[in-house]
Amino acid sequence: MGAGRLMLGRKADGLYWMFRYLERAENTVRLIETGQRIALTRLGSNESEWRSVLQTAGVLDGYEAEHDALTKDGAIDWMLRGKENRSAVSATIAAARQNARSVRTAITNEVWEATNEAYMIAGNLMARKVRERDLPTVLSAIRRHTALVRGATHGTMLRNDLYDFARIGTFIERADNTARILDVKYYVLLPSITSVGETLDNVQWESVLRSVAAYRGFRMAHISSTGPREIANFLILDRRMPRSLAFCVGKLCDNLGYLAADYDFKAPSLALAEEMEDTFKSQDIDGVFDLGLHEYIQWSIDALARLGRQIETDYRFYA
């Protein structure tokens, strides 16, 4: 053990994806919860809301290929357990567990057992179509079990390269998720004449914040002024917010930095991550709006994808 210990590239790949999939499962659950909440607290048709939920999860095309109409039940079932949906909650949890199995020797018993249990419980809960009245229980059970995996990881894994790859997977996925929510909903954050003076009661703003588990956090952080600019700042640049782009990229820099120190080699991926971090640090939110919010988000999504590919190359995930 120690500095001389070697780690397979495939193992790094497995850990990275195990944690990406877990994070994705959790994010999808949160999107469903948000969609459902908006649907229940708002009168009239919710079709456009569900469309944007599906779009955010990146599963709208798949849904439309399999369904004639966009309904709430259909959307929820598709996101939870759609057979042909590789990003469905059931599929991502199964994929996380599959990766965990393939790197069984890299994770502690606690992490494996928490993952296996999450898989078994999610499997039971989603064996049949989930009834609306069971939905809150099912969603919170899944969230709780993915949180248990994270807790076991935090509490029992050695802080070495294995842990770094697990964290890198988590934060790439999380940053990507936040960026995609912003990408789909950026227009509700654009300054417009009608929205001036509106409060946080704006359903769209609430939806954005809830999708990243930041509804209460935002209120705590912003007592006085609450507008689209503050929300955008919170989700993009605020380093207190654990799902903001700046926070996630900061964590990616940390973990890539630990790898560089551990391996005594500064990989190109670290340079890419640092470049992103510099961009976040060099601008305030006014600068972001001046550049164009949508363009800025698009750039973030592309940069994250580039970073992901560079990590795969740097650490020899594939032959």
């Binding site: 053990m1 780690m7 590239g9 193992k11 393939s102 020797t105 494996w112 650490y315």
Partner: protein
């Protein structure tokens, strides 16, 4: 054959409690059966949670299943065990001597103790191994010897597993589960520990490193992958030994060494505990279709650049056709009479034997020479007329493909059922480790139990279960 003739390891032939079971019995009598059945379910839940599963072949999706675990331990006295160990040691040493001979001067063939064609026409014989000297002259680093019992002192070797014997993880996890659930049982009985097995395995593999290795040899376990039926065990052993678990596509020949792709580039592996069959090991030297192997690994091996455990070509020693020659093999290389008996075996390749087998088919067990896992075998007494007739045709068509043995009255051991203890047939697979350090047998092994009443098939793929196996400190 009536049930009365069956030897029960707890009650003997005559319903008198046997000594090794005294400690267990006094504990059991104080227990509430309902409580024990609850414990049984708890054990199952524990296994499911820890993911101790095996995959079943021949299904659309490689489904993960649990091997049923029975909480009633199987108890062997220290005295009985010592005798078994002597027999296993003798047999394993003979197997290694036989393998070295077969891949070198073939004295045993020159002495006409085994017919030439048994080797030259055998698929398990690898010409690529001729003249190769494995480090320490060791071919089988790990051997599992399958034993059955018919009476107090009567053990028979059912088969040798000299390629990639599996099941040791169940031995270890079964004990772990029992220790967790019934600590008081272990305070009362002096049970010899099995927990050192992974350390012993690591030590003996490292001791078998090739000369090119430095003083800290790199050890890796090679698995066919996550869909293999024994994947859990591969991961389990790699984990316990602190070795890397690799698949074929993690490895490549670099500068005359077998190297694994790490996050820091390719690094050489010195000892590979491979759980991949010979045929799939190297697409350049063996099956060109193999996706599981490493092109050129055999060339590195032949040049002394890596230790493969077990060595390629060891299958020639555990082949079912060779099995019938084991008494001759033991005598030829050790100069002693075999301590452990073989089950009498008819080689259907011999016309007289075939005639006998065809005449007595309904009394015999017939096995495929290359089969394993209990597939493709016929249990005469348990088969219908139609099954017997169709098997008769197969036998006549390819006699050399089969051997036949009498149906032994396998011993029974109690399992826990709804109605309390009930006897079931068992076998035993102890594990022996061979290295330049010597030969070591872990005190215990894998007990497989046919859970169906009266059944003789203990294979996990056919509804068998497992038990914790105790060897007492006498």
């Amino acid at each position: 054959m009536t049930e009365d003739q069956t030897f029960d390891e707890m009650w003997g032939h005559d319903c008198r409690l046997r000594t090794p079971y005294e400690g267990f019995k006094s504990w059991f009598d104080e227990e509430d059966p309902r409580h024990l059945r609850a414990k049984q379910r708890e054990a199952e839940e524990l296994f499911r949670l820890t993911g101790i599963t095996f995959n079943v072949y021949g299904r659309e999706e490689a489904e993960e299943r649990l091997i049923p675990f029975d909480i009633i331990p199987r108890v062997i006295s220290g005295n009985e065990w010592q005798k078994l160990c002597r027999g296993i040691t003798q047999r394993v040493l003979a197997i290694n001597a036989f393998l070295h001979d077969i891949y070198h001067r073939q004295e045993i063939l020159r002495a006409s103790r085994i017919p030439h064609e048994m080797i030259s026409r055998n698929e398990a014989f690898l010409p690529q191994m001729m003249g190769v000297d494995p480090p320490g002259r060791i071919y089988t680093h790990i051997v599992g010897v399958d034993l059955v019992r018919t009476g107090p002192g009567e053990f028979f070797v059912l088969e040798d597993n000299a390629r990639t014997p599996s099941g040791v993880s169940y031995m270890l996890e079964n004990r772990e589960t029992m220790l967790q659930m019934f600590p008081e049982l272990f305070s009362r009985n002096r049970v010899q520990p099995v927990q050192n097995y992974p350390d012993d395995l690591r030590r003996s593999l490292i001791a078998s490193a090739p000369a090119v290795a430095d003083d800290q040899p790199t050890l890796a376990v090679m698995t066919p992958g996550i869909f293999n039926s024994a994947y859990f065990e591969h991961a389990f052993l790699a984990d316990k030994m602190g070795a890397e678990l690799v698949e074929g596509h993690d490895l490549r020949v670099v500068d005359g060494r077998v190297a694994m792709r790490t996050t820091r580039g390719y690094r050489p592996v010195d000892v590979l505990y491979r759980r991949v069959d010979d045929d799939f090991l190297d697409p350049l030297n063996f099956n060109p279709e193999s996706q599981l192997g490493v092109p050129g690994i055999m060339d590195v091996y032949r040049a002394g650049g890596i230790t493969l455990a077990n060595a390629p070509g060891t299958g020639i020693a555990d082949d079912k056709a060779i099995y019938s020659y084991m008494p001759e093999i033991v005598e030829f290389y050790t100069g002693e009479r075999p301590i452990l008996n073989n089950v009498p075996t008819w080689r259907c390749s011999e016309p007289e034997a075939l005639a006998h087998v065809l005449d007595h088919l309904s009394e015999l067990v017939v096995k495929e020479v290359h089969g394993s896992g209990g597939y493709g075998m016929l249990i005469g007494p348990a088969s219908s007329k139609k099954e017997l007739a169709s098997f008769r045709d197969k036998l006549k068509a390819r006699p050399a493909n089969y051997i036949a043995q009498p149906t032994l009255s396998l011993s029974t051991v109690p399992i826990l059922t709804q109605k309390g203890l009930s006897p079931r047939h068992v076998d035993l697979r102890p594990f022996a480790l061979v290295s330049p350090l010597g030969l070591k047998i872990v005190p215990g092994g894998l007990t497989r139990v046919a859970l169906k009443k009266g059944s003789l098939v203990v294979n996990s793929s056919q509804g068998g279960g497992t038990k914790d196996t105790w060897v007492l400190e006498d």
